[in-house]
Symmetry: C2
Subunit: 207 residues, 2 copies
DNA sequence: GTCTATAAGTAGATAGAC
DNA sequence: GTCTATCTACTTATAGAC
């Protein structure tokens, strides 16, 4: 047990419990998931409290689950700072949007968890962290990218903050609709959605 | 008890229970809300089961709550079919968007409830109804409105279905961000958001 | 229509054998 | 690190007095 990993305990069962926790909490909610179910999901005899050899409480598991997912997102973000140098094009914009949608897809369960538990008053610090990570940081990244592109006349003349807000809202809305209802809004595919959004963002003559 | 109201029972306590149910279920979830809490919220002595003189089960209250809210939405929609005749303008578009945002604001609790309980497997018919009401019908209304405006060259040349999907996704994303995080995405006000979105939708020279 | 009282079940959590 | 057994608290729901 090193200092660097903050006292993380190893063990396959612990990892399985984290996996099962993420899945069950996001599907059925924190309250809706019993420790018995979690035990059963990882092959432990349910109702015997073997769970408590790995986590102090159910809340404890919740925190560990979210922290692990947050680290995953941070790692993904770190490898993602490529930021198309050499100007903004239809293709680079579209790719950026699709990448964001894929990023959200990758943390589907985390987003579901957030949507389900946020505002309940429980885990306030955890949820604040998630909000900053998913909304604030994402918005800031878009804003920077669009600011310059607007100056060059490639993108429509619009306050970069407003444009970023619209774009990220559209992406989040599209993703959530997919996530919750299992269907693309209006049957519009990811590709078409991204292309259409790029079309709206760009000035007509621009390439 | 008339036939027309489907056997609705009158009584102030029942109405209070519906109000408290909507509030508590949307805030803390169905599982996270106990019958005791609901009783306490309406001034009944908690834990004595007086609740059960009004509703057969807790599930029963949930269904009654959602049905009442659905009726509210339908009534609101019915009075809403004004649909700016005489062409689409910047102002009429913006007003339409703002009206949609206000509509979502008005059913905030219902949307929160939907987000929290949908996909949990419980109340599947109820949730399917909500989805159709909020997403499908809203999208169809937008699509019809935009179809003609695109033909006249006022709006950008884009498949009406795609445009509707983008617009409704943006509105939903913006609203959810407000709802969950208590802050406008990027600090962009409703007015600015709607204006910006209209700007993106319209052709540059159009009025 | 609200109260007292309570039944029956299930939740989170612990002690200790193996 | 999993199992048996159990404690305590809380939940939904009911029976019956007023």
């Amino acid at each position: 047990m090193t200092v660097a990993d903050g006292g993380r305990k190893h063990g396959a069962t612990r990892v399985s419990l984290l996996d099962a926790g993420l899945k069950l909490f996001s599907e059925k909610g924190f309250d809706g998931t019993s420790v018995m179910e979690i035990e059963a999901a990882v092959g432990l005899k349910p109702g015997n409290g073997s769970f408590y050899r790995h986590f102090k409480t159910k809340e404890d598991l919740m925190e560990a689950v979210v922290h692990r997912e947050i680290e995953k997102v941070r790692a993904w973000r770190a490898g993602e700072i490529v930021s198309a140098k050499g100007g903004v094009s239809r293709e680079s914009l579209k790719n950026g949007l699709l990448q964001s949608l894929e990023g959200m897809e990758a943390i589907k369960d985390l987003m579901k968890l957030l949507a389900r538990e946020y505002g309940q008053g429980r885990f306030p610090e955890l949820m604040a962290q998630l909000k900053a990570l998913l909304l604030d940081e994402g918005l800031e990244a878009f804003r920077k990218e669009y600011r310059d592109a607007i100056k060059t006349g490639v993108l429509r003349e619009l306050d970069p903050r407003t444009l970023s807000s619209i774009v990220i809202s559209a992406l989040v809305g599209y993703h959530l609709s997919n996530m919750y209802f299992g269907a693309e809004p209006g049957g519009v595919s990811r590709e078409t959605f991204a292309s259409g959004l790029v079309e709206l963002m760009m000035n007509k003559g621009s390439e």
